[in-house]
């Protein structure tokens, strides 16, 4: 079923996407999501409209309960919106899910303890029916992408938390979906490991030219990584501000000391403060 579309090089040249770059991959219009709970309805998302273009790196930032994770889960068809429209690659999110249009990375690595790293990365490939030879080839490729070459035979408990999370990113990349959705993937890691992984993620994004949706709590992380920063606020969960980053695509870690970076970070912080209200 998905076989017709799959074998395509993992690494596309960044220049290739020149013409199609502005095509909308994810379109949300007046999206609403209300959870019915025992304490009455909870408005997780209210009137959310957003366009994400091919090749964008979009961060969602905001306090707990602002709906950033919920929005990501709606894109992944793990939650059903109660109002508005949402399309992924021009399809409904559920159709996109059935076509395996995205890879999803959760906050916890969630590797199977009874499988080696290589076997963990093969999990989606087995499910999607790739041949043995293709599985082995792809495992090698994605292990290289996340700089874990040579660790395929290790079990998850033999790896550090940061390496486990990289393995889980490799697992999400293995079947080469165009969209990568990441829900606070580095939230549980310490600052130093996180910096390193942020740098690696940017490199990986440049090499693969994927469209990335990234949920985070951290302002520096959001500004450093993104081409577009979506600032959200809670009760009800809504978009407060959308900031298009003016930073260049090439970003060394010390770009975080540049005035441009600080200015964007300032705007994000203002947005968070205004949206939160501290009531």
């Amino acid at each position: 079923m998905n076989m017709e579309t799959t074998p395509q090089a993992l690494e596309t040249q960044a220049g290739d996407s020149g013409i199609s770059a502005q095509a909308s991959v994810i379109e949300a219009k007046n999206l609403d999501l209300t959870f019915q709970t025992n304490d009455g309805p909870v408005h997780a998302l209210k009137d959310v409209s957003l366009n994400i273009n091919r090749g964008d790196f979009v961060s969602f930032i905001g306090p707990s309960g602002c709906g950033k994770t919920t929005f990501l889960r709606c894109i992944a068809a793990l939650e059903q919106p109660t109002g508005g429209t949402l399309t992924v690659n021009g399809m409904t999110p559920d159709e996109a899910r059935r076509q395996r249009a995205y890879g999803y990375v959760f906050q916890a690595a969630g590797l199977y303890p009874w499988r080696t790293i290589a076997k963990n990365i093969k999990l989606p490939l087995e499910i999607m029916g790739y041949s043995k030879a293709e599985q082995d080839k792809r495992v090698e490729q994605v292990l290289d992408l996340v700089e874990l070459s040579g660790f395929g035979g290790k079990f998850p408990w033999q790896l550090s938390g940061g390496m486990q999370q990289r393995a889980s990113i490799a697992r999400a990349l293995a079947f080469d979906a165009d969209i990568l959705l990441m829900d606070e993937p580095f939230g549980a890691l310490d600052e130093i490991v996180r910096d390193h992984l942020n740098e690696q993620l940017l490199k990986l994004w440049a090499r693969t030219n994927k469209t990335i949706g990234f949920v985070t709590h951290s302002i520096p992380e959001a500004v450093y990584l993104s081409t577009k920063i979506v600032v959200m606020s809670p009760r009800p969960g809504r978009i407060h501000d959308v900031i298009d980053s003016t930073l260049p695509k090439e970003r060394p870690l010390d770009i975080r000391d540049s005035p441009e970076f600080i200015e964007i970070a300032h705007r994000v912080r203002d947005g968070l403060r205004a949206g939160h209200g501290y009531d």
């Binding site: 793990l78 899910r97 395996r100 959760f106 969630g110 199977y112 009874w114 499988r115």
Partner: protein, 305 residues
């Protein structure tokens, strides 16, 4: 080394208590025999002794203490008597002999293993159904619980009679009683195990658009293994109890249950106790074997031990 000392200390304490308990338990019998043999016993007649406490008798007849450990048919046989009987009926007897505990043990063992296989298979099937079907979850589980509230000793004769009336006898009725006891822990443990993957793991499979069958084989079943083995260890011990109980109401001529029954008919306490120990050793060996299989299998699955 340290743990070995601890284990030996506990074993020594139990054996010491056992020997001590033999003295008051057997003192009346020893004194009656001594009186018949013409020895001086205080008080002198069985009638007077009947009204006295055991400890008083021991205090008044300390010469008889050693004899309480070597009686032919004691109320409570001493550890070495049981050990000697165990030795004589296993190593010293031919396996084909009707008095060999190995012969009786393997009769019970075959019913146990067959029952365990049926019970485990049934338990896993029920658990898979319960986890995947709301209807089965609501309808099967209450019956499974009710089934375990009926005393097996009351149910066993009925199972045997009913099966006999449709022409089934021999190994199978005992195995079915075994299965009846052993399927339950497997159902409970397996349901828990198959449901152990968290939401995130299930969501992950959903993002791959995995089928229910793929989710079962790749996630649910491997996740359930530690739970399954915990249940199997309970299940195999229950199976053995079931097989022994299944031998009691039939007046079976072979099996550990038959040895227990024959021993109690003829007041052969040493025989009863050695059959009990044989059953306990068998259960321990079966549980240990499952433990080895568990360690090998989970070790292969990369679980850190």
């Amino acid at each position: 080394m340290k743990s070995l000392t601890a284990i030996l200390t506990v074993v020594a304490a139990i054996i010491g208590l056992w020997y001590a308990a033999c003295v008051p338990m057997n003192i009346k019998g020893v004194l009656d025999a001594a009186e018949r043999a013409g020895a001086e016993v205080t008080p002198a007649t069985a009638r007077e002794r009947r009204d006295m406490g055991e400890f008083g008798l021991v205090a008044g007849n300390s010469f008889a203490i050693a004899d309480t450990w070597v009686q032919d048919r004691p109320r409570l046989p001493a550890p070495h008597q049981v050990a000697v009987e165990l030795w004589n009926t296993t190593v010293e007897k031919k396996i084909t002999s009707k008095r060999s505990l190995i012969y009786h043990g393997q009769v019970t063992l075959s019913a146990t293993l067959l029952g365990f296989a049926i019970g485990t298979g049934l338990g896993i099937l029920l658990a898979v159904g319960i986890v995947h079907s709301k209807v089965m979850d609501m309808s099967v589980m209450p019956w499974a619980i009710v089934s375990q509230t009926i005393p097996i000793i009351a149910l066993a004769p009925m199972i045997i009679v009913v099966l006999y009336s449709i022409g089934v006898q021999g190994l199978l009725p005992k195995a079915i009683i075994s299965a009846y006891l052993s399927f339950f822990p497997v159902v409970v443990g397996m349901v828990k195990g198959l449901r152990s993957p968290d939401h995130m793991q299930l969501d992950l499979l959903k993002t791959y658009n995995a089928s229910t069958a793929q989710g079962f084989w790749k996630l649910r079943l491997p996740s359930s293994m530690p739970y399954l083995f915990a249940s199997l260890k309970i299940g195999i011990a229950a199976s053995l109890v079931g097989a022994i109980v299944g031998e009691l109401p039939t007046g079976a001529v072979a099996g550990l249950g038959a040895r227990l029954l024959a021993g109690s008919y003829y007041g052969q306490t040493v025989q009863i106790w050695s059959a009990l120990f044989a059953a306990a050793l068998l259960a321990a060996a079966l549980v240990a074997l499952l433990g080895v299989i568990e360690r090998v299998l989970l070790g292969r699955m990369g679980v850190r031990s």
